[in-house]
Symmetry: D2
Subunit: 358 residues, 4 copies
């Protein structure tokens, strides 16, 4: 298969551009008899949705998802599920000026060179707008994983620019526009973003996703290790530049005696490994961190070239988030849900074991 | 396909355990008419080979690779290529004592729980020994990429425990057992490893891979972005806990105006993005960092349980590297070569363009 | 991937039921810069469309296809192409009576048993209605193959019930509702169908597809041989019960000296092999025959059981073609086009040769 | 993946040529804890083995299979299983004369044109010798399917040239070199083959495979229908030119009222459909027929060209079966076993149902 499908048994295939008619997705391999409605998918779409606060893009999309197939009388039938999200608030005229210019840090240059043609309106397929479909598909997976296995997949903002936001509790995460668990940091974040706005600049971020109640045994060594497939999924999100599992880059300076998670009757005493050993889940929480680069569209002039190679400078107009990392949280949760769902079904195929007996 | 195949067009499928009869691989999708001999594959196998210095495992494998099919009169025929590496220096008796015990930080626990059975000898399939086949397959890809496109894929040790080893030049990398580019650090590394040996402990590391002369246009958005597939491949290597592309985790604290790579007639002025934009190579060097956890097998006693859940402690005997990160360099190079080869062929399929015209 | 995707490089993924809101498809891997409009897809949809003559179902669907993504300024962009066809003329009440009854020869029984739930309206996903999307995707492939390689894929009715319709010429095939090349048979076919209608019965058929101007070299031995992939694609069409390549079942009674296609400077002297040798196209026309079972929905009462195992009889109402074989011709052409397109791209990937030089 | 892998969850990847060092295979996705030894695989290899009677090739291969990985203490571990079969009785000098000549009806022409190079010795990869690995992999699947589900997959010769051999019983099938169920036909077959031998000619055949005790519910519509995947697998066998399921081509002349399998409390009253409805097994026996073309290597001179396009004639020496159809029976059984195994595991993944409850 080509590049717009993810998963082997639970497969999500998507299409759609930022300023096209609609975004679409086909979700295949969903177990039959599972209750599913558009509302289930809407919850996470609303969390990802632009216009959530004054710190996100002013583009106003209701991101209303429609299910076109695969559901009968409120339940999945085992056939492929088609979903559509229309694009409404499209202002393509904002992009006329970049028709022939490659915006630095954007995919304009690489899409043009690879394909010899590009839909320049709003970044076309390279826009983060396509992630709406991922979030809808991920919402399905999240519901399935939670209802059947109690699996919880939740993320929070762990760093934005210079501000580190260590985890306090889940209590406040959904109650502020930054998915920040430490509310004492909110005002700092607001000033940071307000200043950036004035400067016409943007900022990077780091987010953390925690998956709880994971059964032991998910992952298919050696190439489809769970950590490998999660890294693939995370790195397929726009703007991500790193993936860390458990202690991540800290392991470079750890000793074996420090890093290893010892075991007693109750289970693992620590979780340096982030819940994965040998590419297989060990039953501990899976912990993933990813750093996202600052929004590429900024209003500080930058040097670039046009599509016939002439030098020029550009200011990127349009309506953009100053920090794409914030809205990436529901997206990252969704991608991990898709991977876990796929591996859960794959484990059933080969091992066919009730997880409780492991 | 199940978990032991990587790639979509250029596919590598492997099997084999640490103490089994042989490791085997089948490499499929290789373009026909390409000159290939066992010697070509042996070069990198020798770089990965155990017993390279006193700081690596004392297991002595000559890692002699045999090509059993797919080559005729010194050239690839376009059919699948079978390779075999025999296991010779197997001392399975070393592992009798861990038959029923889960070594902390090893995959013993997860393999046993997932499959209900495990080949405990030397870690079985979870041992890094299987990477020999990856290195052989990667050597084929490296040769193809270099001869046809001038692509060079090279790695070095960038950190070991507390010692950071910034890049100086490629001159010395192949001339010391640590793939360290900065020879002024060699003696520090030796003392570090000597001390660890005395303590019976091990250490983590960070390695960096640089890919030069990359054509513009490799990568298949949105899920098979080049960075996503590289992350998958890197994270499928034993002991890896992070992947970073370009500036990696540093982007979390960068501003948009700092991070973006501006462009002029000569090309990109900087390379913060690490050679990939929108999931597609931009023609700059691709830069990847990965952190590897410390070797799991250490002789400091650790708490654990056995396979019937009783608590016990363990000292891991056997012959082990104090730092698995070092030998991971040729493995990481190979995995990236496999990904680049696959994407190069995939790009041919869809875009069918001479890279020079981009 | 799960069962609703076909192809490895050129991938078609579909969803949608007979009486659902819409049929949808995502076509991935299409080369960029190729001119494509909804009109291009509509041509074949109109050929497949119900209501083509009084001998097909009275369901009136305009089968208007919409392209939602992947096209910019009239050309493909290399990104995934989304297509939608709405269901309009849905009379689900016709199916209330079969809610709990398994219609013999239909997929009701097997879908119910496999999934434990089924969309009984019009056969749900098992209805041939889903093939509309295949035809749209196939139309894209046909256009690409024709414009770039001159490949022509055309089918005709070769048998309907007892009436054999040998090939005369392409002149009349598109001019009668039966895709029959021999117009002297039309009146016989009409009487046959008229009688069947009176009896409330249906009839089987055999169709033949000829692919001309095929380049030498398509097919990927050993499992993805061109004949194997064509057989897969043909047998995935509803109601097909056989596939033959070239002389097909006649080879069982042929001698080697009879069957073999001898060669001289001009090429092959005969085409018993149907254009494929060793799983690879030999440059001759590819010839495929397939037999389709009679329409399952007939009004002659049949014995069956309901979903709690009680015996009953059924008369299948609804609006049905007396011979599904007729409308299968554009579907079969499309499926073969999809396979050829995929193999053409795959051949580019591995062999990267201009076909003219072969 | 490229063309040398079959299956999605249960995957078989192969390599090896007729006169290469070895044939190899990697079998992936095998459930863990399943007892398996080389003996299990050898049974079917012996049935396929050349030199079984005076009517098969005189090449003497013991086809001794070695398992190199994936088994521990007599059981599968869930990791990939490597198998090797050495080529011993290689007489490559027999093929020196065809180095530059394309044997009619062989794959010489197409391999040379596609790849620009070919291993001409014994047909290289295009030789039926590669099927030894398929048979070994199929033997594993057959054992699994039989021990766990009672599934029996057996084939017989149903036609050889003009001699039709209708099914009598399984009693004699394994006791004659032709897998013929009707022993009254044996002497006719012997004379036919003796005469062909004198003439230096060969003959086609038709074989039938019956799969019993099939659970309801195998198959993944719409593209991975069970009949579609079986057709793919059968048509991937050298020399096959047709596939029929159930009544096969006879359906072209059947009426709906004749063809449909009515149902009562005991199940289906007939089995015209050959055990598959809507692409899903219905619990009846699966019935598959395939016709195989006559052996291509015959000693009657044939017209052909050489690799620089000059006309010539050829007599194919070497050691060949007069009827490849005979030895195809264990191969076809194996391919079907591989498909059923894959679908069984896939059904577990999505539907996760005990088959008994269906």
């Amino acid at each position: 298969m080509s590049g717009n499908t993810i998963g082997k048994i639970f497969c999500v295939t998507t299409c759609g551009e930022s300023h096209g008619k609609s975004l679409m997705g086909i979700i295949d391999g969903v177990p039959p008899g599972f209750p599913l409605s558009e509302k289930d998918l809407q919850i996470d779409l609303n969390r990802r949705k632009p216009g959530f606060s004054k710190y996100t893009t002013k583009r106003r999309e209701n991101d209303h998802v429609q299910i076109l197939s695969g559901i009968f009388q409120g339940k999945t039938t085992g056939t492929s599920i088609g979903i559509v999200i229309k694009n409404n608030d499209v202002r393509s005229q904002d992009y006329e000026n970049i028709k022939h210019i490659f915006r630095p840090n954007h995919a304009d240059f690489t899409y043009q060179k690879k394909y010899g043609i590009r839909d320049y309106r709003g970044g076309g397929r390279a826009s983060a707008r396509e992630t709406a479909i991922r979030v809808a598909a991920g919402a399905l997976a999240k519901k399935y994983l939670f209802l059947n296995y109690g699996i919880l997949i939740r993320g929070y903002l762990s760093q934005i620019g210079p501000i580190k936001c260590p985890f306090i509790s889940w209590n406040h995460v959904q109650k502020n526009p930054f998915f920040c668990s430490d509310i004492t940091k909110i005002s700092q974040i607001c000033s940071l973003l307000d200043n950036l706005k004035k400067e016409g600049d943007s900022i990077g971020a780091k987010i953390t996703i925690i998956c709880e109640n994971i059964p032991v045994g998910l992952g298919e060594p050696i190439f489809d290790r769970l950590d490998a497939d999660i890294s693939h999924a995370i790195m397929s999100i726009n703007a991500t530049k790193s993936v860390e599992i458990g202690d991540g880059i800290l392991v470079a300076s750890q000793k074996g005696s420090e890093h290893r998670d010892e075991i007693n009757k109750q289970g693992f005493l620590t979780n340096h490994s982030g819940g994965i050993l040998g590419g297989i889940s060990n039953g501990n929480s899976i912990i993933i961190h990813t750093a996202l680069k600052p929004t590429s569209s900024i209003s500080i002039p930058g040097n670039t070239i046009n599509d016939i190679g002439e030098e020029t400078t550009i200011i990127t107009k349009g309506r953009h988030d100053p920090c794409v990392g914030i809205r990436a949280i529901p997206i990252a949760e969704s991608m991990i849900a898709i991977v876990l769902m796929d591996h859960l079904l794959r484990d059933r195929a080969q091992c066919n074991t009730s997880f409780k007996n492991r």
